[in-house]
Symmetry: C2
Subunit: 146 residues, 2 copies
Amino acid sequence: MRDASHPAAHSSLGALLRDAYEWVSERVYGRLAGQGFPEIRRAHGGVLRHIRPEGSRLTELAQAAGMAKQSMAYLVEDLARLGHVETLPDPEDGRARRVRLTAKGRGLMETMLGLSREAEAELAAAIGAREAAGLRRALEKLAALR
Amino acid sequence: MRDASHPAAHSSLGALLRDAYEWVSERVYGRLAGQGFPEIRRAHGGVLRHIRPEGSRLTELAQAAGMAKQSMAYLVEDLARLGHVETLPDPEDGRARRVRLTAKGRGLMETMLGLSREAEAELAAAIGAREAAGLRRALEKLAALR
DNA sequence: TGCCATTCGTCAGTTTGTCTGACGAAAAGG
DNA sequence: CCTTTTCGTCAGACAAACTGACGAATGGCA
């Protein structure tokens, strides 16, 4: 760090958010390897997060994640190869594929949830519970307006 | 949005941070095109942010941005091609290149700074000044500990 | 009932941004 | 001077996104 005299005072909000995201991501995805899931990358998170228990369509997942269906197909194929999701034909629509978590995938989700809570607790320890709660509140408020 | 009953209540902190970063980035980089800088992409921001007035070495920039020097070289070459930075031989070290902002690059930086402030003001209007201030305070506190 | 527009997912190709490894040239320090 | 380190480049790989074109299935409507 070059300029400790006025720490992050002039950093842009975007840079601050990106750094904080990086801080959390390192803790979640970095530790996933140690928990038996070394092949899960960050992009996989955006897929898994949106899969409903009954299964979700590819296009639906793409929309939820805000990406093209081709990009989502690439990620889903990856997760299927790794055994975390499976795809079935949709009984109600012959064109569609239903993407569903496997048992292994549900284990992964639980682990990720645990690591995420752990990271948030570490954040609270680092900056104070009050600040951490304020951070989450502000972020949730923003998310609700989208 | 599918489940408005308990909004973002169970979202992971990582997802919330990523979404907020996306929200800000859209406003800054999206509007840059309208301000006469249509070719500036997000990755360029991480380069520009760290260039000191006297110029910075490539390796130094790479370290500051947390990436390999080859990756930084690719981004710097891009910015040089666009006329925002120029590289000079370092007078003190025959191996090194000095990367410096051009006048055009300084204009870009000012524009980006303005858009960033604008985005932060919009955030404050959207979630409330109090929450927005709390958000920045928490993020700066985290950044200071890194 | 049959046609046509729409939607679902895939194929093929491209771009962006990152990485690793190997290397030549220059500097630094005995 | 010679050796080790550092600076930047070359070459190649990969991840993660994109666009455009397309065949197959669905669904609305005349």
